[in-house]
C-alpha cells in the first residue's frame, strides 16, 4: 500500500490503530472458517464513528475494498479479507452507550460482546435474546452482519427481531440512520435488509437493541432415544401439540461423546438426545413439561430427566454449546455445515446423511436446532491423510444439496460469506439473485464493502436490470463475466 495512504490512515486512527506488519496482519487473515486465508494490506482499529467515516472516505476515493470485522468468530468466511483491501476491526468500539430499562432499549457500539449486553441488564431481570454459541466472544456488530440466531431463536427470534435500528457508514463515507428507537418508522425497512447482509451494505457503528424480560421459570428436559429418527418424531409431536418451547436441540451419539469428553455434561449415552427447554409462568411450564415428557415416552425415550437446578441446567447447555469445539477431540479436523430443512424432512435427510457418510467413509457428528430444522452436521476428517480434506468438502457440500432439495436453505445462521456463495445459484434462480443485487447497488454501487461475498458473481452496478447489456468495463476488456 502506498505510503501516502498509510500516512493518511495513521493520521486518522493513530499509530496504535494501524497494523501493517505481516506477522501481525496474519491474525486477521481468516475468521472462524480457517480454510480460507487472505492477508490484508492493513488493519485499522478505529475508536469512533468519525474515524470509521474518515477511513471509508479514503477507501472510496482510492477504490480500496474494505472488510469490517468484529470478533472474527464467523463460520462462513464473511470477515475474510480481500486481496489489496483493508480490514476495519471494530473491537475498540465496545461501549454500551445507553440503557433504557422502562422502554427496554439498549444502544451499543458494534464491538460490544453479545453476552456483555445481557450481563449489563441481568441485575434488572432482563436479557438480550439472540444467543449464538459463541456469545462469550462474538460481537453485536458481527451478529448484525450475520443475523445470528442461537438455540433460543425458536421462540425469541433472531438478531433481526431484536435490532430496532442502526447508525451505518455507507461505502462513500456518508452516515445514515436506519430505523430508530420506536417501531414502524415510515419508509422502507432498511434495518430489516441491513441485518444479515454480511457486511456488504456498509458498516454499523451504533446499534439499537431490544431487551427481553427473563421468564418466571425455565426448565430443561433431557430425553434419551435410540435414534435421531425417534427423537425427531418427538419434536414433531411437541410442535403438533401446540407448544412453542424456548429451545429444542438434538445431538446424535458422536456429538454426545464429544460433548461428554469435553465438558462432562452428564448426557446419557444414546443414539439421539433431545434437550427441550420451556419457559414462562410456573404452573404453565409444569403442565407443559409433563406433556413433553409424555410425547417423548410415546416416541421411545428410555430416559427422561428434568434438570433440577440452575447449575444443572447451565451444565446441560454448556455441553451443547461446546459441541463444535468438542468434536475437535474426535478428529484432527472437521467442517461444520449450517443447512436448514423443514422439520418434517428430518428422518429422510438424516438417513441420507448416514448413507453419504458411509459411502465416503467419513464420520459425521450431528448437532441440530431441531425445533427450527437447522442442522449442524460436523464432517470429521484427518487433513494428514492425502485427499481426505477434499472428500470431506464434497460430503459437506452434498449435505447442503440435500437441504436445498428438501426445500430448505444452505444457511440458517452462519451466513453465506465466502464459503457458500457458489451455492446461492443452486438455491436461488438468476432473477432472485439479480433482484438482491439491486439492493447492493443502491447501498454500495462501487462494490467496496466486503466485495465478492454472498453472491456467486458481483453485479456491476452500471448494468441495467433485466435484459442483458454488456457493461462498459466488459466492452473495454477490463472486467469479465463468469
Amino acid at each position: 500500500m502506498e505510503a501516502r495512504i498509510l500516512n493518511e490512515f495513521r493520521a486518522i486512527v493513530g499509530a496504535s490503530g494501524l497494523i501493517t506488519e505481516p506477522e501481525q496482519l496474519s491474525t486477521y487473515e481468516c475468521d472462524g472458517l480457517t480454510m480460507f486465508r487472505v492477508l490484508p494490506l492493513a488493519v485499522l482499529l478505529p475508536t469512533s464513528t468519525a474515524q470509521v467515516q474518515a477511513i471509508v472516505r479514503v477507501c472510496h476515493r482510492e477504490k480500496i475494498p474494505f472488510v469490517a470485522r468484529g470478533s472474527g468468530t464467523g463460520l462462513s468466511g464473511g470477515a475474510l479479507p480481500v486481496a489489496k483491501g483493508i480490514v476495519i476491526s471494530l473491537t475498540r468500539m465496545d461501549r454500551i452507550l445507553e440503557v433504557d430499562l422502562p422502554n427496554q432499549r439498549v444502544v451499543v457500539e458494534p464491538g460490544v460482546i453479545n453476552l456483555n449486553v445481557t450481563a449489563r441488564v441481568a441485575p434488572d431481570g432482563y436479557f438480550y435474546a439472540p444467543d449464538p454459541s459463541s456469545q462469550v466472544v462474538c460481537s453485536i456488530g458481527g451478529n448484525v452482519a450475520e443475523n445470528s440466531g442461537g438455540a433460543h431463536c425458536l421462540k425469541y427470534g433472531f438478531t433481526t427481531t431484536h435490532v430496532l435500528g442502526m447508525e451505518v457508514v455507507l461505502s462513500d463515507g456518508s452516515l445514515v440512520h436506519l430505523g430508530g428507537r420506536t417501531v414502524d418508522r415510515p419508509g422502507y425497512d432498511l434495518p430489516g435488509v441491513f441485518v444479515g447482509s454480511e457486511g456488504t451494505l456498509g458498516i454499523a457503528t451504533k446499534v439499537i437493541l431490544r431487551i427481553v424480560k427473563k421468564p418466571e421459570v425455565i426448565q430443561v428436559l433431557l430425553a434419551a432415544f435410540n435414534s435421531t429418527n425417534e427423537a425427531g418424531a418427538a419434536v414433531s409431536g411437541i410442535i403438533a401439540a401446540g407448544m412453542l418451547p424456548a429451545a429444542i436441540e438434538m445431538m446424535d451419539n458422536l456429538a454426545i461423546q464429544a460433548a461428554e469428553a469435553a465438558v462432562q455434561a452428564n448426557y446419557p449415552n444414546c443414539g439421539g438426545l433431545l434437550l427441550v427447554e420451556l419457559d414462562g409462568p410456573a404452573p404453565e411450564v409444569e403442565t407443559l413439561m409433563e406433556e413433553v415428557a409424555d410425547v417423548c415416552t410415546k416416541c421411545g425415550a428410555w430416559e427422561i430427566h428434568v434438570a433440577q437446578s440452575d447449575a444443572e441446567r447451565a451444565r446441560v447447555w454448556t455441553g451443547r454449546k461446546a459441541a463444535f469445539a468438542a468434536v475437535g477431540r474426535l478428529a484432527p479436523a472437521y467442517i461444520v455445515q449450517d443447512g436448514v430443512i423443514p422439520r418434517t424432512a428430518l428422518p429422510h435427510v438424516m438417513s441420507e446423511i448416514v448413507r453419504l457418510s458411509s459411502e465416503v467413509g467419513l464420520r459425521v457428528a450431528n448437532v441440530f436446532h431441531a425445533g427450527d430444522g437447522n442442522l449442524h452436521p460436523l464432517v470429521l476428517y484427518d487433513s494428514g491423510v492425502p485427499g481426505q480434506d477434499k472428500l470431506a468438502e464434497t460430503l459437506a457440500n452434498d449435505i447442503l444439496r440435500l437441504c436445498i432439495k428438501a426445500g430448505g436453505s444452505i444457511t440458517g445462521e452462519h451466513g453465506v460469506g465466502e464459503e457458500k456463495k457458489m451455492f446461492m445459484a443452486e438455491m436461488y434462480a438468476e432473477p432472485d439473485l439479480e433482484t438482491m443485487q439491486l439492493v447492493r447497488c443502491a447501498f454500495d454501487p462501487e462494490n467496496l464493502s466486503n466485495p465478492d461475498k454472498v453472491f456467486p458473481r458481483p453485479r456491476l452496478c452500471g448494468e441495467k436490470p433485466g435484459v442483458y447489456e454488456p457493461h462498459p468495463l466488459e466492452v473495454a476488456g477490463v472486467a469479465q463475466r463468469f
Binding site: 404453565e284 423443514p342 430448505g408 433482484t435 436490470p465
Partner: protein, 423 residues
C-alpha cells in the same frame, strides 16, 4: 384521460386484454379512484406469471400502476402522482401449501386474511396477526401497508412472521427471496424490504409465513384509570415476568382503559391474573369487554370529516401522547380517541371541522417529532393531504431509500408519489 394523470399517447389496451384475458380487464369506475385520482383500467390477472407480464407491459407502455388487494387501505399514503392501471390480485387468492407439521404456509397475495385463517384453523394454527378488516383485507395488502393489531405484543409484526416472498418487478421479473424454513440467512431479506413498501418497489404475488398454534385458553382483563396511571401500569406489566399476548391502551375524552390478554393453559392464566392484580395495586381489574380486542378497528368508524393518524413513540410516552392529543383536539373543538399497542404504535382519531383537523395535524406532527416519535396521516380529507407529506419529514436515510426505489423501479411505474418523501 383524467388531467391528474397527465397526457398519454395511444395505449393499446387489447394487448393487455390478451395477457390477462378479455373478461379480466375492465374500464375503471369512480369507485376505483385513489384519493380522487382517476384510474383508467383495472386488470385482474389469474396467475403470478400473468401479473408479471401485465406489469412489464404497463411499464413498457409508460403507464403508472397501482397494485390493489382488497382495497381497504387504498387511501393510505400520499395521493398518487398518476395512476392509469390498477393491477388487482383478486384472482390470486389460493392457499398453496399449509405444511401444518412444519408450521408454515405458502399463500397467494390476493387471499383474504380471514380465508387464510380459516384454512389454518383446521389444524389448530394461525397467522399470529390480527390486522384491520380481515374479512376483506388481503395478504398482499396487509404486507404492503405493514398492518398489525393487538397480537404484536407477543408475536411481533409482519416482519417477524414472513419468511419468504415472491414479487413481480416492473421489468417483468418474478423474484423470490427467503423460503419455507423459519431460519434462513441466505441472501438479503427482501421480504422485509417489501413489507411496508406500499407497493412502490414491486407487486407481491406470494408470501410464506411461519405459523403459531391457536391459544388453548384466553382471558382478557381491563383496568380503568387516568392515562398517566395506566401508562405506569403498562410499564410495570412490561417490566414483570407476565407473558401477555395483548397489551393495549384505549383513551378518549374523560375515559381511559388498559387491556391485557393472557393465552395459554388454564392454570398459567389463572396464576398470571393473580399476579397482575398484585402489580395493579389499587386499580381494579374487570373482564375485558368482548370488543376490546377489535378496538383498533372500531376506531376507524365515526363521524366525518375525521383525521386518522398512526403514531409511534416509546412505551413510556403514551400518557404524554394522550395529553397532547387531548390538548390539540380541545384547542380546535374536536372529538378524539386513541388506541395504542404496548410496543409503541397506535392510532389517534380526531373528528370535527376540516380547518381544525388541518391545524391539529400540523401541531401533532411537530410535537411527536420533537418527542422522537413519528406520526403518519393515514386517512383524512384529500384537501388536507395535498401539499402535506402524510409520512412526515424525511430522515437522513431518504436519499438511500430513493436509490433503492430507483434500482427496483427506475421509471417510477409503481405508485408514484405515494410513499415517503414523494417516492
Amino acid at each position: 384521460m383524467p388531467a391528474a394523470s397527465g397526457v398519454m399517447t395511444q395505449v393499446s389496451w387489447p394487448e393487455l386484454a390478451e395477457i390477462v384475458g378479455k373478461e379480466h380487464l375492465r374500464a375503471a369506475t369512480a369507485a376505483d379512484a385513489i384519493d380522487g385520482v382517476e384510474v383508467q383500467m383495472v386488470a385482474e390477472p389469474g396467475t403470478a406469471e400473468d401479473l408479471a407480464r401485465a406489469l412489464r407491459w404497463a411499464h413498457a407502455a409508460g403507464l403508472k400502476v397501482s397494485p390493489r388487494g382488497g382495497g381497504t387501505k387504498l387511501g393510505w399514503g400520499n395521493p398518487p402522482a398518476a395512476c392509469h392501471l390498477v393491477l388487482s390480485t383478486a384472482r390470486l387468492n389460493r392457499v398453496l401449501e399449509h405444511a401444518w407439521a412444519d408450521m408454515t404456509v405458502i399463500v397467494e397475495a390476493g387471499c383474504r386474511v380471514a380465508d387464510l385463517q380459516k384454512t389454518l384453523a383446521e389444524h389448530g394454527q394461525q397467522l399470529a396477526l390480527d390486522p384491520l378488516w380481515p374479512e376483506r383485507a388481503t395478504i398482499g395488502g396487509i404486507l404492503s401497508t405493514n398492518d398489525s393489531g393487538t397480537l404484536r405484543a407477543r408475536y411481533g409484526s409482519l416482519r417477524d412472521l414472513i419468511i419468504g416472498t415472491t414479487v413481480a418487478l416492473p421489468d417483468g421479473a418474478l423474484a423470490k427471496s427467503g423460503g419455507k424454513v423459519v431460519k434462513n440467512v441466505a441472501g438479503y431479506d427482501l421480504a422485509k424490504l417489501f413489507t411496508g413498501a406500499l407497493g412502490t418497489l414491486g407487486v407481491m404475488v406470494q408470501a410464506i409465513f411461519r405459523l403459531h398454534p391457536l391459544p388453548r385458553e384466553s382471558r382478557g382483563l381491563s383496568f380503568s384509570g387516568t392515562p398517566e396511571s395506566l401508562n405506569q401500569l403498562l410499564l410495570a406489566i412490561q417490566a414483570s415476568k407476565l407473558t401477555f399476548t395483548g397489551l393495549q391502551l384505549r383513551a378518549a375524552q374523560g375515559s381511559a382503559h388498559l387491556d391485557v390478554r393472557f393465552d395459554g393453559t388454564a392454570a398459567g392464566i389463572q396464576a398470571q391474573v393473580k399476579q397482575i392484580q398484585q402489580i395493579a395495586g389499587l386499580l381494579a381489574a374487570s373482564d375485558a369487554p368482548a370488543n376490546a380486542w377489535t378496538s383498533h378497528q372500531a376506531i376507524w368508524d365515526g363521524a366525518s370529516p375525521a383525521l386518522m393518524t398512526k403514531f409511534s413513540v416509546l412505551p413510556a410516552q403514551f400518557a404524554a401522547v394522550c395529553a397532547l392529543v387531548e390538548r390539540v383536539a380541545g384547542a380546535q373543538s374536536l372529538a378524539w380517541k386513541v388506541v395504542a399497542q404496548g410496543v409503541g404504535a397506535g392510532y389517534a382519531r380526531l373528528e370535527g371541522n376540516e380547518p381544525g383537523l388541518r391545524t391539529a395535524l400540523l401541531t401533532l406532527r411537530d410535537e411527536l417529532v420533537k418527542m422522537g416519535g413519528t406520526l403518519v396521516a393515514l386517512a383524512c380529507p384529500v384537501a388536507i393531504k395535498r401539499g402535506f407529506d402524510v409520512w412526515g419529514p424525511p430522515s437522513d436515510a431518504q436519499p438511500l431509500m430513493v436509490r433503492v426505489k430507483q434500482r427496483f423501479d427506475p421509471d417510477g411505474t409503481l405508485n408514484p408519489g405515494r410513499f415517503v418523501g414523494g417516492i
